[in-house]
């Protein structure tokens, strides 16, 4: 194309497109300018990236290598920037993974101690249950003994104190000075030993990081006291504590420091010396004021206390028993040494046995008796506890027999020989063997003959012995009193006949009796059981009985009385049998009764008759009863009478009917038929004309006669 045509074309373009062309030129210029391009892209880049991320992941893929490279470069240049940036993130991340691991570890500790049933274990288990914590946590807790007293938050760069907190009870130093000094010390240590650490051959591999690896002083200790320091990028946390803190505390410091950094990085970096900006941090620092007390560990546990008390008690007990045993033994030896008839010459010990050598009179007490009397071998008991200080096998006696002249033993021996009666006392009165009291004449005279042989050189005195008549052989009944007056014996009271007779003979044989009088002794008639209205009198073989008595007693009397020795005859003349007397009285009474009838009236309709009959029946019954008591048979004769009217035959008939009427009535009332007989008493020649009506009335009757039959022999 020629230049001309080009120009012409341009001209044409200008004509047609005039303004547009100018615009295009401007656009062209805009596009070709690098500066304006950058501006354009930068204005849309954030939006573009945002959109791209939403649509697909290509952009992220494309950017990844770039970012990776950038990070590498940055780290190479200065790792500190990156470390500082990562610091708040890395801690929590690591901690999370750690806590998982620790949880597992706690779990396994838990299982390890699960089956330990120590007292402490049980106690902690209870505590865990109570507090809702795991057992392992409680175990961990009990292994701590420390107390954090102060917490310092220090700006790393200046060493100025950002915040400080302390336990109330702790004496405070100037926290600002401490803070600065701590920083200085750290700096000093780091600067002084940094070099040598880096030169360490083992660290060679990490040499390229030497400028970034911080060697920090993280603990200062002085005896029980220590300061723990934890470094952050901008701040340092330091705690002053007493005792031995667990690793857990370090973890707490790290966590606190990380939290503070997260929240206050800029504030710390731009700290201008005004502490009040960090007042809120104080609360967080307070979390580090940890403490754990092992108070119950320090205390004497109940078990130990119990054991110690037990041992002390045991020792006391042993000591007490030892004293007790010694005391008993000493008592025993003293007693046995003073025991008459026993002489201890030596005490030896052999094979756990104690042997007492010496002499013993056979009449002396046995050593074992003394031992038991002295409670030597008796066990000592206190509640369930029993302790036997000595047993019989432990104590052996080698005692030879001998005759002791000790007074007690001598008395024992002499008593054995002379057998004194119970009223006689044998004793020493100022070395004189004395016998006093009453004794039989025989016994005394025998003693007198032999006393020289028996008294064994002791002087003797028998003058106080009173010779007595010994009546013990005659078996005096209690009812008899014997009075002795110089050989005269008088018996009074009541005694069985037998005894009276026997004594008359035997008493004469008793030595010392010259005369025996039993005239006042009455024979014992108590076995006759005389009623109180009866008097008995025994005289010369005849028993006189007087007074009143029932038939029963009288019947038995003769047999009983005659069975008593000495009674030959019984005189009953003066004795009244009250039963017989009553019988005759009842007979008389019955015989006075009559039943009166009215004239011509039928017998049964007579009401008066019935009344009479009832009364008479009662009397008859009494009479029969009494007769039976006396074993007397009786017959009741019922006599019927009639008045003088009518002829004999009628009168006879009437009188018979009347008697029969009464008899039938008695039978009906249960009276034995065999004792009743009825008789008609009508007179043949009755002087009717002379009889008044009064007489007639009296004759219209039934009367009674009682006969006692003699007792049939053999009944």
């Amino acid at each position: 194309m020629s230049n001309q045509t080009t120009n012409e074309l341009d001209l044409l373009r200008n004509l047609i497109l005039g303004t547009e062309k100018n615009k295009i030129t401007v656009l062209e210029k805009h596009f070709n300018d690098a500066n304006t391009k950058i501006e354009d892209v930068s204005s849309v880049l954030p939006q573009a990236i945002k959109l791209s991320i939403h649509q697909n992941e290509q952009l992220a893929d494309e950017l990844a290598p770039v970012v990776e490279k950038a990070v590498k470069v940055s780290v190479k240049r200065d790792i500190r920037i990156f470390a500082d940036a990562l610091y708040p993130v890395i801690g929590p991340a690591i901690r999370k993974s750690m806590s998982e691991t620790i949880m597992q570890m706690l779990q396994s500790i838990n299982q390890a101690i699960e089956h330990s049933f120590s007292w402490k274990g049980i106690k902690w288990r209870f505590e865990a249950w109570k507090s809702g914590k795991t057992f392992a946590e409680i175990v961990l807790k009990h292994s701590l003994i420390y107390r954090v007293e102060q917490v310092f938050l220090i700006q790393k760069k200046t060493g100025l104190l950002l915040q400080h907190t302390t336990l109330n009870e702790v004496v405070q130093q100037d926290a600002n000075l401490v803070s600065a000094m701590l920083t200085a010390i750290q700096d000093f240590v780091r600067d002084s030993f940094h070099h040598s650490l880096d030169d360490d051959t083992f660290n060679k591999t990490s040499n390229h990081q030497s400028n970034t690896t911080e060697h920090n002083l993280n603990q200062i200790s002085m005896g029980d006291f220590s300061i723990w320091i934890e470094q952050g990028p901008d701040a340092v946390i330091a705690v002053a504590l007493k005792g031995t803190a667990p690793k857990l505390l370090r973890q707490e410091l790290i966590t606190t420091l990380e939290n503070i950094h997260q929240q206050y990085t800029t504030e710390i970096q731009e700290f201008d010396g005004d502490e009040t900006n960090f007042n809120q941090v104080n609360e967080q620092l307070k979390h580090c004021l940890l403490s754990q007390y092992k108070s119950e560990e320090k205390k004497l546990s109940w078990m130990t206390l119990g054991a110690v008390l037990g041992v002390i008690l045991g020792i006391l007990m042993w000591f007490f028993l030892y004293l007790y045993k010694a005391q008993r033994w000493e008592n025993y030896v003293n007693i046995i040494k003073t025991e008459p008839g026993i002489v201890i010459t030596d005490i030896t010990h052999h094979n756990g046995q104690t042997i007492l050598h010496g002499l013993r009179d056979p009449l002396a007490k046995k050593p074992t008796e003394i031992a038991s009397a002295n409670k030597l071998t008796q066990p000592y008991t206190l509640g369930n506890f029993s302790f036997q200080p000595f047993n019989n096998e432990q104590i052996i006696f080698h005692l030879e027999p001998y005759q002791s002249l000790a007074k007690t033993i001598f008395l024992r021996r002499i008593k054995q020989q002379i057998q004194p009666p119970k009223d006689v006392e044998v004793y020493f009165n100022k070395n004189i063997l004395t016998l006093s009291g009453k004794a039989g004449t025989d016994w005394i005279s025998t003693l007198k003959k032999n006393i020289h042989f028996i008294s064994n050189n002791y002087q003797s005195n028998l003058s106080q012995l009173i010779s007595t008549i010994d009546l013990s052989t005659i078996n005096t009944p209690k009812t008899v009193q014997l009075k002795i007056n110089k050989g005269n014996v008088t018996a009074t009271g009541v005694a069985p006949y037998d005894w009276i007779i026997k004594t008359k003979v035997t008493i004469q044989k008793i030595p010392g009796i010259t005369h025996y009088d039993d005239s006042q002794l009455r024979i014992d008639l108590s076995s006759l059981n005389a009623p109180k209205n009866v008097r008995l009198n025994f005289n010369k073989g005849i028993l006189n009985v007087s007074g009143h008595a029932h038939n029963n007693w009288i019947k038995k009397l003769s047999a009983r009385a005659l069975s008593l020795p000495g009674i030959e005859k019984i005189n009953l003349k003066n004795l009244v049998n009250t039963d017989i007397r009553l019988l005759s009285k009842l007979k008389q009474d019955f015989e006075t009764e009559s039943v009166y009838y009215q004239r011509s009236k039928t017998i049964s309709s007579n009401s008066n008759v019935n009344k009479d009959l009832q009364r008479i029946l009662k009397k008859l019954q009494l009479l029969i009863q009494q007769a039976q008591l006396l074993s007397t048979d009786l017959r009741i004769i019922i006599q019927g009478f009639s008045d003088s009217r009518g002829n004999y035959s009628t009168r006879y008939k009437v009188s018979y009917l009347r008697a029969e009427h009464v008899r039938q009535y008695f039978i009906r009332q249960g009276i034995n038929n065999s004792i009743l007989s009825s008789h008609a008493m009508a007179k043949k020649n009755h002087a009717t004309t002379h009889s008044s009506e009064q007489e007639n009335q009296l004759n219209r009757r039934v009367s009674f006669i009682v006969h006692f039959l003699p007792v049939e022999k053999g009944k």
Binding site: A184, D187, F188, G273, E275
Partner: protein
């Protein structure tokens, strides 16, 4: 109330510890006990009704064997350079220490203390050099820990420089 880390820098035995003792506790001792590492004290200062707390780091003086540690200087808000008027070489040490501080932070306030002014007749210090320094903007003050001359003023001057900053 704000707190500030203040450092005392200078050659050995120029009287750093003595000045702090005088300022903080009001006492002075002829005895020379060289400071090992650092000794820290605290003092309240009031300037124009503003209270401030100085945490004073009294650093061991420089000698042939010991150089002041960088770490001690970190975070310093202001510093006092101390020289001994009777020892001219202490000024050189002070200047080199100042240069070290300037490398870290150009704008830190400081004051030069020419100590032992009670021994002025024995002074060997190069007066022209001092004048030069003054002209280049240094604040200088003659002090005596022994007589208490200029001690409080030196700290006050530093404090007001700090506030101006």
């Amino acid at each position: 109330m704000k707190k500030y880390k203040i450092c005392l820098l200078g050659s050995f035995a120029v009287g750093k510890t003595s000045l702090v003792q005088r300022f903080v506790k009001g006492i002075f001792s002829e005895k020379y006990l060289t400071t090992l590492g650092v000794k820290i004290d605290k003092k309240m200062i009031t300037i124009d009704n503003t209270e401030m707390e100085f945490i004073i780091w009294d650093l061991a003086g420089e000698d042939e064997f010991i150089t002041v540690r960088d770490s001690y200087l970190r975070g310093t808000a202001a510093y006092l350079l101390v020289i001994d008027g009777t020892r001219n070489e202490t000024l050189e040490t002070a200047i080199s220490l100042h240069e070290r501080m300037q490398q870290e932070n150009q704008s830190l306030p400081f004051v030069l203390l020419i100590n032992k002014s009670d021994l002025k007749e024995q002074w060997t210090i190069d007066a022209t050099k001092i004048t030069e320094l003054k002209q280049s903007g240094w604040n200088t003050i003659e002090t005596s820990a022994k007589t208490n001359k200029g001690v409080a003023e030196a700290f006050q001057l530093l404090a007001s420089n700090l506030l101006k900053n």
